[in-house]
Subunit: 149 residues, 2 copies
C-alpha cells in the first residue's frame, strides 16, 4: 500500500471498530497480530476489543493526529467516554473521562501485525481527582455548570 492507500485502510479500520463489525476485523488485522509485545492473534485481538466495548459502552475511536509512513501508521486517538467500572485499574465507575491513546501499527501482507499502544493513564487520574465522586446526582439537562456559564 502507498501512503494514501494506507491512510484510507486505517480510516476504514477505525470505522470497523466504531461499527463493532467484528466479523470484518480479519480484513484489517493479521492472524498473528501482537499487541504491546504479546502475540494474541486475531481471536485474542477481537476478544480484547469486545472487552473494551463491554467495559466502555459508549466507546468511540476518533483520530486526532495521523502519521502514515508505510508500512507504519501512527495515530493519536481521542476518547470521550464513560467506563462503567474499573478502567486501567482506576475506579472510574461511570464518570465521564477524556483521554488520548498514542499508538503505532506495523503492517504485513496488507494487515496490522504489530501494535504498540500507550493510553494516557495520568490524564485519567487527574480527572478522577477533580470530578464528582461516583454516585453523585446526574445533572439536570440544561442546568449543568457548563451550560450556566
Amino acid at each position: 500500500m502507498n501512503q494514501s492507500e494506507l491512510a484510507a485502510f486505517y480510516r476504514a479500520y477505525i470505522d470497523c471498530l466504531n461499527r463493532r463489525d467484528w466479523d470484518l476485523l480479519g480484513r484489517f488485522v493479521h492472524p498473528d497480530v501482537s499487541h504491546n509485545g504479546r502475540r494474541i492473534g486475531l481471536a485474542g485481538y477481537r476478544t480484547m476489543l469486545e472487552r473494551d466495548h463491554h467495559e466502555i459502552p459508549d466507546l468511540r475511536f476518533s483520530i486526532e493526529i495521523l502519521a502514515v509512513d508505510p508500512p507504519r501508521v501512527a495515530s493519536r486517538l481521542a476518547f470521550d467516554c464513560t467506563p462503567v467500572g474499573t478502567f486501567l485499574g482506576l475506579p472510574v465507575d461511570g464518570r465521564r473521562i477524556r483521554f488520548a491513546e498514542n499508538v503505532f501499527y506495523e503492517l504485513r501482507e496488507g494487515t496490522i501485525v504489530d501494535v504498540r499502544s500507550i493510553l494516557d493513564k495520568a490524564a485519567i487520574e487527574l480527572q478522577l481527582a477533580t470530578t464528582a465522586p461516583p454516585g453523585a446526582a446526574e445533572p439536570i439537562p440544561g442546568e449543568t455548570e457548563t451550560l450556566r456559564r
Copy 2:
C-alpha cells in the same frame, strides 16, 4: 523538509537531547512550542528537559519506532534508566525502570511547534510492584540473578 530530511532532522534533535546541548535546542524547537496543549515556549521546553535530566541522571532517548509524514513525526522512544526520586508521582527512588514514550511532533517553519506525548506510566507501576524495594543491597557484579540463570 521532505520525508528523509525530516527523519534526519529528528535524529539530530534526539542527538542534541542526548548530548544535553541546550544551547543548540533552538535549532530544533520553535519559540512558541506547545507541549501537551500547554504553550511553554523554547525557554519552558529547555527547563522541562533540564528538569528531566536532573531527576533522571542517566536519561537517554532511544528511537524504537519512527513514522515520518511531513510536517509530522511520530516516534516511540525507549528508556532504560534510574530516576533518583519520584517520577510521574511514583516512588522510583533509584530503581532501574524501562518504559516507552509514544510522541507526536508537528513542525512549523522548520522547527517543532507542537508535541503530544504519552509516557507508559502503567508499565512503570507494574515494574515497581515486582522489583526490590528502595534500599535493597546492590547486586555484586557477576553475581546477579540474571547472570546465575
